[in-house]
Amino acid sequence: MEPTIVVHGGAWAVPDSLAEASVAGVKAAARDGFAILKIGGSALDAVELAERALEDDLAAFDAGCGAVLNTDGEVELDGKTLAAGAVSSVRNITHPVTLARAVMEKTDHIMLTDRGASQFAESIGITTVPTDALMTESERREWEHYKKYAPEPNPFCSVRGHDTVGAVALDHRGNLACVTSTGGIRNKMVGRVGDTSIIVSGGYDDDQSGAVSCTGHGESIMKVTLARLILFNMELGNRVCLARDAVDVSLAYMGERVQGGGGAIAIAPSGDWAARFTTQRMVWATAKGESLFYGLDPQDMFEEKLSK
């Protein structure tokens, strides 16, 4: 099986000022994850590494560091057993995604929330950091300003920071993994759980049908259980562009049924992959074979050779 990794840095109206940094960020993350796959590493290790690279990228993304106070993280792997782990509404953790993996590997549960998640983090020696370390100054100002919750006027064209980051990978053994992490929407209510940590919505993977990571308007994604919907469409499909068609059909359904915009990355068990969105922009990158593909605007499909 030819290893493949696809990462995204959130589907939203990425402003030009962030465009360059965002593209550079996902390209670097895809390279990092792909390096693991090239040496025979597992899909899970690859997506986790890529995700951590994105979570650390303070300049461009909003998950983990740079996230607004509460974060959700989800990791789902082992398409064989459908094992999964997630945390929601966890505070003061730099890498929610690593904590989510620990929930999967070290507990009988799939999801931990709030104080229980923090206690678990402490019990397994994941250190917490002061809130200040997770907030950039501009975020703090914005958060103070918008602390009183107000609904997003139009989820299709949200221009405020709304970054979810995610990765899906296929390793040389044919195993699939996906991971998604987010700071959630700015000014969310305390304790709001978005799609990221919900297994069917933020991400889903099954070696038999494929792996998906979603981004966009979380509430809309949840209403149509977007990740699972894409995989159902992949299971039903037999077309050449399996992943792309399944993602497009599902995003169109979400727009039509609940007027929500978003994006998704997907890999089929065959290695067919897609990065598609209905928002203005979504930054994404794919490493496969000798090439690195990436894009930001709807029709983008840039390609460069992976060096070495």
């Binding site: 799939i110 929330t113 678990f120 297994i199 259980t225 699972r228």
Partner: protein
């Protein structure tokens, strides 16, 4: 004969101790009747499922609201969800403490916020803002749940297996006279769960799904398994591909067993009012009301039918009193 309106409720899949069978059966019948009265009076499917689940939460026989199982630490943390098939609107709360009716709070999340799920302390803050009274934790705890909690603290206990011994989650699905579909699910979760554990119930597509075009599902069983196969949405996908409610429910449960060795049960309706209550655990207390008839059962293919007006309800043998303090527990145990 399929007809509208219809409501189907369940009181959880598992192994029900014989002593508790009649209470469980009476509880789901009462809830189905109450929901049906609401539907017949022109109430919405959403009103009916919330009404039915509220009764089940208030009934200490079931693992939801009062009577919920306890966490490792001996506290009560509850999950609940509602979903409206007209708009796919949904509301949920996870790991919420010290409120009497999580299903009503879930409905408020749907009606009063633009979010779908609030968790733990955030859910409590929201409840306070909505003027929902905080209740004493003790009022949610029964002697039976304390006994089971103690029993499963021992290192060799298997809470997953043992959980099947206590009635699980409660839920309801309904179609109203206008053809609108709704569902609701509520639970205390898994016996001796870690603090902060969130199961399938508040996760849309896992613990509930309703779509006017397809139908609605409320599941019960091993939450982690239900999440892994996204059971509710899975069953509706089968129906979307032309399967009957019964075929779809059986296929979904069979898939869950084959893929992740999970057991459970579901109640399902479709837009025409076809319904089914299916499970692959030993028992699931369920009841349905449709066309002036009350249907109910608990074992395998059991299916009793009677006129809904019939007054002769067998009385539950004993009502479980809630214990004001845990020290009154007299069950023998290791701890």
């Amino acid at each position: 004969m399929a007809s509208l309106p219809v409501i189907v409720v369940h009181g959880g899949a598992g192994n029900i101790p014989r002593a508790r069978e009649s209470m469980s059966s009476a509880g789901v019948r009462e809830a189905a009747k109450a929901g049906y009265v609401c539907l017949q009076a022109g109430g919405s499917a959403m009103d009916a499922v919330v009404e039915a689940v509220t009764l089940l939460e208030n009934n200490p026989t079931f693992n939801a609201g009062r009577g919920s199982v306890l966490t490792q630490k001996g506290t009560v943390e509850m999950d609940a969800i509602v979903m409206d098939g007209r708009t796919l609107a949904s509301g949920a709360v996870s790991a919420v403490r010290r409120i009497a009716n999580p299903v009503q709070l879930a409905r408020l999340v749907m009606d009063k916020t633009s979010h779908l799920c609030l968790t733990a302390e955030g859910a409590s803050q929201f409840a306070r803002n909505m003027g929902i009274p905080e209740v004493q934790e003790e009022s949610l705890i029964t002697e039976y749940s304390i006994m089971r909690w103690r029993k499963n603290l021992s290192p060799d206990a298997n809470p997953v297996e043992s959980h099947m011994g206590k009635m699980g989650t409660v839920g309801a699905v309904a179609v109203d006279l206008q053809g609108n579909i709704a569902c609701a699910t509520s639970t205390g979760g898994m016996l001796n769960k870690m603090e902060g554990r969130v199961g399938d119930t508040p996760c849309i597509g896992c613990g509930a799904y309703a779509d006017n075009k397809l139908g609605a599902v409320s599941p019960t069983g091993h939450g982690e398994a239900i999440m892994k196969v996204t059971l509710s949405r899975l069953i509706l996908f089968y129906m979307e591909q032309g399967k009957s409610v019964r075929e779809a429910a059986d296929m979904g449960l069979a898939y869950m067993w084959d893929r992740v060795q999970g057991r459970g049960g579901v109640v399902v309706v479709d837009p025409k009012g076809e319904w089914v209550a299916r499970f692959n655990s030993l028992q699931m207390a369920w009841a349905a009301a449709q066309g002036g008839q009350l249907h109910y059962g608990m074992y395998g293919e059991e299916h009793f039918t009677r006129d809904i007006q019939e007054q002769k309800e067998p009385e539950p043998q004993s009502q479980e009193a809630h214990s004001p303090t845990r020290s009154t527990d007299t069950h023998t145990d290791t701890q």
